[in-house]
């Protein structure tokens, strides 16, 4: 049982950090499909930073700076060049995947993965089995609550939501929706860097090409599943982590009868069903194709 909980926490934590980043972007009116790219930048920077400098803080710091810069680039392209957020986000994801690959090859030649000498600080043996959990797992609930308070219990959160839902309304009370989106994306960049660092340095201490394996997209699915609500989205991310962890257990239980790939597909299928049901509840087929475009103001 404890094993399972640890497995869920370990696989769920990176996902939740990135999901929170997606929530912030979603509320500001941006469909963030660049999460995958930011996450892998964070994962790569943490490992390379530690290997090169020997300091975990330097690794985290480089990751945060790069992710914030990449987020700002995405914001510039979406907000200032009025590019389609979905395609631009996919582009950022591609840049992240390709860029980290390029960076690893530039430094280490054609090596597929990089090992770090040590990982994130852990709880330690005082916590028994749970001692293997990293500090970022422990901090995760703090971030969840912080994002919830920020978006649901402050005036800033209302202004952020207004920037996404009705930018003109935001503008006519003196809020600059473009700036709100920049802040939301950059905060999201920090969260993605942390999520990526937890992925590569939390339990594995290794960076491998494409190691995010679609987690950024799964986080996006969790955001949609949770309807942009931080708690709902976190719940969805947890659900995905549980399904993933149970998938491995179930394989032991059911053996060959249930193909493991089917269990791995469950989160995606669940997202489709969730989005379908929430669309039904909101009622009626919407006629307009939004394409995730930013609303004009």
């Amino acid at each position: 049982m404890d094993d399972t909980i640890i497995a869920i926490l370990r696989s769920g934590t990176p996902l939740i950090y990135v999901t929170l980043a997606g929530v912030l972007a979603q509320r500001s009116g941006i469909w963030h499909l660049g999460l995958e790219g930011l996450m892998i930048i964070g994962a790569c920077a943490a490992v390379l930073g530690v290997v090169q400098s020997g300091s975990i803080l330097v690794g985290l710091g480089i990751g945060i700076v790069l992710c914030v810069l990449a987020s700002a680039l995405l914001w510039f392209v979406i907000e200032k060049l009025r590019a389609n957020p979905i395609i631009a986000g996919l582009g950022l994801t591609g840049l992240g995947l390709g860029g980290t690959d390029l960076a690893v090859q530039a430094i280490y030649g054609s090596q597929a993965s990089v090992n770090a000498p040590f990982g994130l600080p852990r709880l330690g043996p005082a916590f028994g089995q749970y001692g293997v959990l990293s500090i970022l797992v422990v901090l995760m609930p703090v971030f969840v609550i912080a994002v919830w308070v920020l978006t649901r219990r402050t005036r800033w959160g209302l202004q952020l939501a207004a920037s996404g839902e009705h930018p003109f309304a935001a503008r006519s009370v003196g809020v600059n929706p473009a700036r709100m989106r920049l802040i939301a994306l950059c905060l999201g960049g920090v969260l993605c860097a942390l999520g990526g660092a937890e992925l590569s340095m939390g339990s594995l201490q290794i960076f491998a090409y494409g190691m995010t394996a679609g987690r950024g997209f799964m986080a996006f699915a969790a955001v949609i599943f949770g309807g942009g609500n931080p708690l709902g989205a976190t719940g969805a991310a947890f659900f995905f982590a549980i399904v993933g962890a149970l998938g491995i257990r179930a394989q032991l239980l059911f053996g060959e009868r249930v193909p493991p790939d089917f269990l791995l597909a469950l989160p995606y299928i669940a997202t489709v069903i969730g989005v379908w049901i929430s669309g039904k509840l909101r009622g009626g087929a919407k006629a307009a194709a939004s394409f995730g475009e930013l609303k004009d103001y």
């Binding site: 402050t154 839902e165 009705h166 309304a169 935001a170």
Partner: protein, 523 residues
């Protein structure tokens, strides 16, 4: 022109250009403190732009703004608000998913760290009560009727210590009695020392509420601020319209500027209707499911005869949109029958109804009527392409030629049929829709707000087209929120309230009676 009082808001040499179009040119006005000022003009005269410049939302190309004698940086909402100026927009600017309390809070200034839901609701209930707005703070904006939405928006504008309140066309969405209530509320605020600037376009309303009037035409200041005691309706009408609309009948002119007397004397015969012939449209007992765009229809009966213009009056959001959607097979009909020219079409899709002669000029010209980023010829040809089958081979060159010819007949100003529809002005865009929808096979034309946002010339053009269609024997259903327009060109007026028909009137129309039917007050 005003004397004694200090100046609340002063604008100097304001110029705004959108591309090559000058929305405002060197407008300088002083508004005295503690008064109710009206700014009037036709559509496109620059009223809204002016209001937005004053509120800091639009950055002018040139000019300065002073509030309470102190200069305020232009194009900066935050600074304008802290100087005490607030604006209520024509189409309300509150996020629809917000609760009333959240809508109040998001624009508040000053301290406001964390809140709990209950704190928030308590705080804003007090504020709303003080202003006499009866609404639950937990209700969502999108669930409120328009009059309440407007009251909430005004309350939102007053969360700070507003000295100047600008309302952009606040009466456009209200019933006559709703307008009276609004004016009462404004007078109370005036007594509390707030300077009020009303963007209006009806002379009747200007003369009944405002202390001064300022007239804009074509982005230029033509008059004002003039004390309303020193001006009368005919002079004001001439000032608003200028000389741009010669050849209008007097009744049309009065309808355009909202100068008609309270009681229409009913002698209008210039556009005498063809005697109403057999029914083109016969709706009996129509009920629908609730629609995303308005309340459900309940037991609506409606008849439009050959050569008849039937006007639909009502406060916006009382089922007019559902009615048009039900007639277009876009709302689910649960009971009743619809007949077009004697053929039952209750369950026919829109394409079949169109084949039977139904034509629709929808409410939203730019989203429902046209695809702005598509070319003129594609927009123009859409109806005939759908009529003739989707997999048929076509020749775009031929369609372009036919389109050019048709648009010339309808007096659309355009350079090439390949230009996007979004490059047309509002009036020309509406003519493009007319060119598509008003053809010789049309038997019933539904015209939903066909003149909204159009200037005098284009409005007169639309009216003339509808009257010509009537003369050819078309039945016309005209939905409008402008009673002056309805009274001017409808042969009958049907009032809708809450999805029901709440009264039917024929000439001579009495504003008080129709207004009472719009709000459900006892007649």
């Amino acid at each position: 022109m005003t004397n004694g009082n200090a100046t609340a808001l002063a604008c100097r040499d304001i110029s705004v250009n959108y591309g090559v179009v000058a929305a405002l040119a060197d407008v300088s006005v002083d508004f005295a403190e503690g008064m109710i000022h009206a700014v009037v003009g036709q559509n496109g005269a620059g009223k809204t732009t002016f209001a937005r410049v004053a509120a800091g939302i639009v950055h002018p190309d040139k000019g300065t703004v002073e509030i309470g004698g102190k200069p305020v940086p232009v194009g900066n909402v935050g600074r304008a608000r802290s100087a005490g100026i607030e604006i209520v927009h024509q189409s309300f600017a509150l996020p629809p998913s917000f609760t009333v309390a959240e809508a109040m809070e998001f624009g508040a200034e000053g301290r406001g760290a964390l809140y709990s839901r209950r704190d928030l609701e308590r705080r804003w209930t007090r504020h709303l009560d003080a202003l006499g707005v009866r609404v639950k703070p937990r209700e969502r904006i999108r669930d409120l009727p328009v009059e309440t939405q407007q009251a909430v928006e005004i309350a939102r504008a007053l969360v700070t210590d507003a000295k100047v309140l600008i309302l952009d066309e606040p009466t456009a969405v209200l019933s006559p009695s709703g307008i009276d209530n609004l004016f009462e509320r404004l007078k109370v605020m005036q007594a509390n020392g707030v300077t009020i600037i009303l963007i209006l376009h009806k002379i009747r309303e200007v003369l009944s509420i405002a202390d001064t009037v300022t007239v804009l035409r074509g982005g230029k200041l033509v008059e004002g601020p003039t004390l309303t005691t020193e001006i009368d309706a005919p002079r004001l009408a001439a000032s608003i319209i200028g000389t741009t609309a010669d050849g209008l009948s007097d009744t049309d002119r009065d309808a355009l500027v909202g100068a008609a007397e309270e009681d229409d004397d009913g002698t209008e015969t210039a556009a005498a209707s063809v005697a109403a012939g057999p029914a083109i449209l016969d709706m009996r007992g129509i009920s629908t499911r609730p629609d995303p765009e308005g309340p459900a229809l309940v037991d609506v009966a409606l008849r439009v005869g050959r050569g008849e213009i039937v006007g639909i009056a009502g406060v916006e959001g009382n089922g007019q949109r559902t009615l048009v959607r039900a007639l277009s097979h876009l709302a689910d009909i649960t009971a009743g029958t619809v007949e077009l020219s004697g053929i039952e079409v209750t369950h026919q899709p829109l394409s079949d109804r169109r084949a039977n002669g139904l034509r629709v000029i929808p409410f939203e010209r730019n989203s429902e009527g046209l695809s702005l980023s598509s070319t003129l010829w594609e927009n123009w040809a859409a109806r005939s392409l759908l009529r003739d089958g989707v997999l048929r081979l076509i020749s775009p060159a031929k369609i372009r030629k036919a389109c050019s010819a048709a648009l010339k007949v309808w007096d659309v100003r355009f350079s090439t049929p390949n230009q996007p529809a979004g490059s047309l002005s509002g009036g020309n865009a509406q003519k493009l829709i007319l060119a598509r929808e008003v053809d010789e096979d049309a038997t019933l034309i539904i015209a939903a707000q066909p003149t909204r946002g159009l200037d005098v010339g284009a409005t007169a053009f639309v009216w003339r087209s509808l009257r010509e269609a009537r003369a050819r024997g078309c039945g016309i259903l005209l939905i409008s929120s402008d009673l002056d327009e309805l009274f001017d060109i409808s042969d009958r007026v049907v009032v809708m309230l809450g999805g029901r028909v709440n009264g039917e009137f024929s000439r001579p129309y009495h504003l008080g009676e129709v207004g009472a039917a719009m709000t459900g007050a006892d007649r």
